[in-house]
Chain length 388, copies 2
């Protein structure tokens, strides 16, 4: 049974210390339930809830669900580092496909401002943690390697930030937006050379929700989940053939393309894990979305921007601009692709027809493996959707 | 497809600040893999890993799996407060039953001594948290109510501690054990009246692992999972008809009995969530294992102890004596029932034949609901097992 996304919703993303994660979740859940149909009717259909969250207290999911009266259901709360939201989505998709549940709610939530003020630092028990290598530094090592190899330039890295902040101009839910120049991005505070502040995803609070169902909405065609694959990392160190995360994304994407029966060239719009600018470029190449060694050049030439001549990457603004509340991120990525495939993305709508979209989320933070976990999901526009 | 438990293993339970949670996990995983057959062969069969953990850092599961070379698999890490271990087990069982995976590893782990020193305190955003009601106090309110209603005596509460610490005399993996008297239990440090120190589960570090499969071990009949049900709480306050958690356990157990096609009278041995003595008594009644109002009297008369004339409750020593490393607890409960049903529980083996065992785990900590989550699982002895 194919899983359909019949409703999506998100809170605003940003620093919201005056709101609890539960309050942010209520906004996202109610929007998703209303989007899925008549809200009280949809609410009664929910068989189970799958939740993505990293830093919340024990029981964070039930605390959020209690406020909207969704009690007494099986609730599965999943931690998979930065990929927690899509990890929850992935389990929910499997539950629908296998006939375990008919309709489920997927919720991603994270209240980062009550947990940390700066970068996420790996465990002191890891070599990276002991060396003081926070996550920006781990990505910076990848960027340095590509610079050294001549595979990217500092300006091309900055171009990703320029593109995504410009995309977010059309996203009223984004944390940051703006028309920056390459020079401004390069001149912003240095975080971990060559990664500057404007090349780093911010500390964010936010929530996102989806209603997944085995059934279409009767009054409207639904976006279908054509394939979803989750993998964890394999052994890796700085001397490995590819930069951190590259092979994990490549393996996961390869399995997802096979399951969906498509190739990267069939995809019209993608949301990928641009926690830092180098992340988007490495991921884009690992996904096979641009030829190897050309991701930076494509970004700098505007080919992967809205209005460009290639697949559109991160029309929402991505993690760099929409923000990165860990557990919410993957669910928000899926929501963005659903809006794009429905033709409801407003000022940031990709040129149609958009038939296939893809989401990639990467979780990191473990020394010695090429990523904690990666989820790649392929979504398909309604057969009779507005744009097709 | 019925899920079979083909291998089990645990670390020692106790305060182990000199070990990491990953190190504890390695002990449990390797014992479980070896118990399931030839270890390298079993390792190759693992399709996915389901992990229960509450307080670990992002990526805690992959960090543990890396050390035993179990990389590149789908890993699902689940937080469900104190029921996290059985919540992970429950998802793994569903994955086998639905044909999603053929063989999976279930891992529970928690390193409490690196997180807290005293009781778990609910969020400050909850009424309980604002009132300073830590978990012992929440259970103490239930105990006080039963005392007030004449449903239990202080001595009967203490009898649960006496029984479980005596059971743990036969459990070399337990954190605490001893032959205590009722008077000693009542005279131990008061934690939250009427709950004393010896009536409270300790701060513990530990890990437990299981191999679940659609296939029997060729050389040995396996314990089968006859049913597993997970539910979350419904609206509750101190004025509700039953004490905290009671109705949630009752609802979940009722569904589990129906799914298993059995009644509570068919069960020979159980492991239940005795985070505090009142927890075991309330749970035992909610499970229908003893007549309402008689759980305390049964415990005091030794009827639910090893060698008693009724179902044996917590032969491992329970959370009170084995310890309570949150994410590991539920997996260790299942391991204990597997050992009991195989007739391998040594000095704490229940009198045979033990055909059916049951595990109940309760997660708490959310104000306004009668429990964060509850899992009830029914396990069945091998048809041609030693005891049958």
């Amino acid at each position: 049974m194919t899983a359909k996304v019949i409703g999506v919703g998100t809170s605003l993303f940003g620093k919201q210390p005056d709101k609890t994660s539960a309050e942010l979740a209520w906004t996202a859940i109610l929007e998703a339930l209303n989007d899925a149909g008549d809200e009280p009717d949809v609410r009664r259909l929910i068989d189970a809830v799958f939740v993505g969250n990293v830093f919340g207290e024990p029981g964070v999911a039930v605390r959020a669900l209690q406020g909207v009266g969704l009690l007494g259901l099986p609730v599965v709360t999943i931690e998979s580092a930065c990929a927690s939201g899509t990890a929850a989505f992935h389990e929910a998709v499997a539950a629908i496909e296998l006939g375990r549940y008919r309709t489920v709610l997927v919720l991603g939530l994270e209240h980062m401002t009550s947990i940390i003020r700066g970068p996420i630092v790996p465990q002191q028990s890891d070599a990276e943690g002991r060396s003081g290598l926070a996550m920006p530094a781990i990505y910076a090592l990848a960027a340095s390697r590509w610079l050294e190899e001549g595979r990217v330039t500092r300006e091309q890295l900055a171009a990703v930030s320029v593109k995504n902040h410009a995309h977010a101009m059309g996203n009223p839910r984004a944390q940051y937006r703006g028309h920056y120049t390459i020079e401004q991005v390069l001149a912003s505070t240095m975080i971990a050379d060559p990664i500057t502040l404007l090349q780093s995803s911010p500390v964010s609070d936010g929530a996102a929700a989806l209603v997944l169902s085995a059934d279409e909405r009767p009054d409207r065609p639904s976006v279908r989940v054509r394939a979803s694959v989750q993998s964890s990392g394999r052994a890796w160190d700085q001397a490995s053939d590819a930069v951190w995360g590259y092979e994990l994304v490549k393996r996961t994407a390869s399995a997802a393309y096979a399951a969906a029966g498509i190739g990267p060239g069939d995809v019209n719009v993608i949301e990928v894990h641009d926690a830092f600018t180098i992340g988007e470029l490495a991921t884009t190449e690992a996904l096979g979305m641009v030829p190897e060694g050309l991701a930076g050049a494509y970004a700098a030439a505007g080919r992967t921007a809205l209005g460009g001549d290639h697949v559109v990457i991160n029309p929402s603004g991505g993690l760099l601009s929409r923000g990165h509340p860990l557990g919410a991120t993957g669910v928000a990525q899926v929501a963005e692709i659903v809006w794009q495939l429905r033709g409801e993305a407003g000022a940031r709508q990709v040129d149609g027809p958009a038939r296939l979209g893809l989401v990639e989320t990467m979780g990191g933070g473990v020394a010695g493996v090429d990523g904690n976990a990666c989820v790649v999901t392929v979504l398909e526009a309604p057969a009779t959707g507005r744009l097709t």
